[in-house]
């Protein structure tokens, strides 16, 4: 997919354009954030115009960069903007990898985020959190651009985490309702748990391979066991971000946010970051058959799981979420078997179509209600149910599986949440007992209701 040695871009104009493309959303975020902090109120129109201008500048700059990069043999270039910080022998390089993997995704991010901003100008009109929505959209845009252009894994973490945080804050956008807030906490829990894989994987690569550069990934002298360990940790991170089984349950919950953010985060950009990570570290995964088999298996299992769970979903956004889960599973499987070009094409195509579907969902429902009313309350269902060829008993089992979404949430609760909460309660009880006998005063025990604790966690 890319040449072995990327071309080092020296052109200062090109560097300026690349830096502008990536940092434009960051500058917009900082400006709007500071204005709000100091009490300056901007009109809705001005906020939308600034946002549109930001993504037009970003997309325009990227078009110039893409033209320059595609004129280079191998279409693979690295742009070093200098060290972000440096101490001793350690240097955190602000290096961007601009190649046939990152450029399509960067372009897609700039264009789709701009389109979402234009759509949201009307959709979010007079919404109390209008300003907050655009702030978080810029945080997301900046995070995604940073992650997709990162030439090393440390920089990718920066963008990855920003996307995660802005995504969670947008899920809880309607913060006065309990549902979105609880879903946000749940999604954040899964993101952070999966991020343990990313952080630990990156630090192990650094420890064993002495570099986290994506330019030399797969060229480290890792033993097969080390490659397997790192590969599985990075797979964990990708699974969390891409809602792969057993973490699929968060994606329908994330639909509690405003429709435009659902479209951009969970239809297009955010959910594909996991697949992007695997595409980037594919040479490392190739050093371990076990890791590749795990990627393929997880992908195929999730594809089937998403298909089944989506069939039993009772609302449009959940159906779309599981359709996205299923497609992401196929993308994982494609990466696992080595069809990386197909996987990239699949990511771009899937992002576009899913964004359109999410944005159309509310008006489609509206039209459906009109059609239903016009037809006198009776609309014939279209399509064919292929599961009807299965025996009834099998269908019942599948329906039971699909209705509870594969019991995966319960599995996560039993396997991870309950043990951590139980350990926490045990340690808290030790602390409390330690403080009790000295002066006979009972300290207020933290945990009173284990079920409530569990629900919280």
């Amino acid at each position: 997919m890319a040449s072995a040695v990327p071309y080092a871009l020296q052109d200062k104009t090109l560097a300026a354009f690349a830096a502008t493309a990536i940092s434009a959303p960051g500058v917009a975020l900082a400006s709007l954030g500071l204005l709000w902090l100091f009490g300056v109120r901007l009109s809705e129109k001005l906020v939308a115009a600034l946002t549109l201008a930001t993504y037009v500048i970003s997309a325009g700059s990227l078009a110039y960069v893409a033209y320059a990069v595609y004129s280079i043999p191998g279409h693979d270039a690295v742009l070093r903007l200098g060290p972000w910080f440096r101490v001793g022998e350690y240097e955190f390089d602000l290096a961007q990898r601009l190649d046939s993997v990152s450029l399509p995704l960067l372009g897609m991010t700039a264009i789709l985020t701009g389109l979402i901003a234009a759509f949201s100008q009307t959709y979010m009109h007079r919404e109390p959190g209008y300003y907050r929505f655009f702030l978080l959209l810029h945080a997301f845009g900046f995070g995604a651009m940073t992650a997709f252009s990162a030439a090393h894994l440390d920089l990718l973490i920066v963008g990855w985490e920003l996307v995660g945080l802005s995504s969670v804050l947008l899920i809880a956008f309607f913060y006065q309702r309990r549902g979105p807030v609880e879903c946000g906490v749940r999604v954040f829990g899964i993101y952070r748990t999966a991020d343990i894989g990313l952080l630990a994987g990156v630090f192990l690569i650094h420890h064993w391979g002495d570099s986290t550069s994506l330019l030399s990934i797969g060229q480290h002298a890792l033993t097969p066991h080390q490659a397997t360990a790192v590969g599985l940790l990075l797979l964990l991170a990708a699974m969390g971000k891409a809602a792969q089984a057993p973490f699929s349950g968060w994606l329908p919950r994330a639909m509690e946010g405003p429709t435009p953010s659902s479209a951009i985060f969970y239809g297009a950009i955010s959910v594909h970051m996991g697949a992007y990570l695997l595409l980037r570290v594919r040479p490392l995964l190739a050093e371990s058959y076990f890791a590749l088999a795990a990627v393929t298996f997880i992908g195929l299992f999730t594809a089937v799981h998403g298909l089944l769970a989506g069939r039993a979903a009772s609302d449009t956004k959940t159906s779309l979420a599981y359709a996205a889960v299923s497609q992401l599973g196929l993308i994982f499987a494609e990466i696992g078997v080595g069809w990386t070009n197909l996987a990239l094409l699949h990511i771009v195509g899937h992002s576009m179509i899913r964004t359109l579907q999410f944005l159309r969902a509310p008006s489609m429902l509206h039209e459906h209600h009109h059609m239903r009313a016009a037809a006198g309350g009776q609309v014939d269902l279209a399509g064919t149910s292929f599961e009807s060829i299965l025996p009834l008993a099998v269908r019942h089992h599948l329906y039971w599986y699909a209705l509870d979404r594969g019991h995966l949430d319960r599995f996560l609760q039993a396997a991870f949440v309950r043990p951590v909460v139980a350990l926490s309660q045990f340690l808290l009880a030790l602390d409390s007992r330690l403080l009790e006998p000295v002066d006979g005063r009972r300290t207020r025990l933290a945990s009173v209701n284990p079920k409530a604790e569990e629900a919280d966690a």
Partner: protein, 393 residues
């Protein structure tokens, strides 16, 4: 004769920062917290004791500063006796260690006593209970500042490394491992905790304990990360604790977390300050916390490969806990309690803005902060190298 006080690369910036944080805290604190006659005096004792310990090279003066800064907590009647006894034991232990050191005999015992005092004061496992107790039952901002003085770093840098070079390196490895274990244990403890003050106590203990883990690192990256974390944790903690205290006062004294309090609708700026300080404390990107943890982990991985597991797990749990606390305090249906109370008054907004901007600016332009700490780190690396050479002899 050697001067009693000195200003160098190690203490200059922490001393200035600490003083500014005190000023910020005194400006932000609800007036009712400073109304009692001794309140300001107690704050000044903590500040004076900390600055004395920071700026002195004399072991007896460092001990005096250490002890002075703990007097307000030791005399706080509402804090549990065991917690106060633990702090007192730390002072005695440090004093005994320094006395043995001055006699030149039983250096192993001297070192063990000094390290014991450091572990106690830092609230490392199993002494984390006093931090939670002092946060819950005492003056949370004052005790937060006392905990975040991180005098253990000063004791290790000024006393253990130069005066006991042979013992320091191997023994610091033990302290580092205890610190890493504490990072995970405290993070786990915060998961099921229900009371906001105690939640913050466990999260702060967890995040702060990795400061010691980096000091033992064999390279300048780890030590710079550690010293930078020494700046980030007090800044972020002061922001969090001050906002929590403001909310308590605005909400009539307590913050029950059984449901969602929905205070964000009423106090959006306080919510923003809380969120950014929390994000910085748990080391998310865009803040100085990310830089310090990145340096710490990259540098210390060589000496402690399991830091690559302990810190990701601890920060993941702490991030979930902080976000969950944020949702409980600020999100949910709007509650219009005390409708006349403003979001953040000017005297509150300015110091909080300064803290948050500091955390973000050092996170976006990290070389500024790194330069402030790298020289001190180089000095410590040289001191550790001398220690290794002495051990080899």
């Amino acid at each position: 004769m050697e001067p009693l006080f000195t200003i160098d690369a190690l203490n200059a910036f922490p001393a200035v920062l600490y003083t500014l944080l005190f000023g910020a805290a005194l400006s932000m604190l609800p007036r009712q917290d400073l109304r009692s006659p001794g309140a300001a005096l107690r704050y000044l004792m903590v500040l004076a004791g900390t600055l004395i310990a920071y700026c002195s090279t004399n072991t007896a003066v460092i001990w005096a500063g250490w002890t002075l800064s703990t007097i307000p907590l030791m005399t706080a009647g509402q804090v549990h006796k065991l917690s106060r006894a633990t702090i007192a034991a730390g002072c005695i232990s440090l004093g005994a260690g320094l006395f043995l050191l001055s006699t030149g005999d039983h250096l192993e015992w001297a070192f063990a006593l000094i390290m014991f005092a450091v572990i106690q004061r830092k609230g490392l496992f199993p002494f984390q209970y006093w931090v939670a107790d002092s946060f819950e039952n005492g003056d949370i901002v004052q005790n937060g500042l006392m905990c975040n003085a991180h005098l253990g770093v000063i004791v290790i840098s000024r006393i253990a490394l130069p005066l006991l070079p042979g013992l320091s390196h191997s023994s610091l490895a033990i302290v580092s491992n205890i610190a890493l274990a504490t990072a995970v244990i405290s993070a786990v403890m915060a998961v099921a905790e229900k009371r906001p003050r105690r939640i913050l106590a466990y999260v702060v203990t967890s995040q702060a304990s990795s400061i010691l883990a980096g000091l033992e690192g064999v390279n300048v990256e780890a030590i710079t990360g550690s010293l930078m974390h020494w700046m980030v944790v007090p800044m972020a903690t002061t922001g969090l604790l001050a906002v929590l205290r403001m909310l308590e006062v605005r909400n009539g004294g307590s913050l029950p977390l059984q449901g969602y309090l929905g205070l964000g609708g009423r106090f959006p700026r306080l919510a923003t300050f809380f969120l950014i300080s929390g994000v910085a404390l748990v080391g998310l990107p865009g803040t100085a916390g990310f830089i310090s943890e990145d340096l710490l982990m990259h540098g210390a991985l060589q000496a402690h490969p399991w830091i690559g597991f302990a810190i990701p797990v601890a920060t993941a749990l702490n991030a979930i806990t902080i976000y969950r606390l944020f949702t409980r305090l600020f999100l949910g249906a709007r509650v219009d309690v005390l409708p006349t109370v403003p979001d953040a008054r000017l005297r509150e907004r300015l110091p909080l803005t300064a803290i948050v901007l500091g955390l973000v600016i050092f996170g976006v332009f990290p070389q500024l902060a790194v330069n402030l700490r790298a020289r001190a780190a180089e000095q410590l690396v040289r001191a550790e190298s001398r220690g290794d050479a002495a051990s080899a002899r």
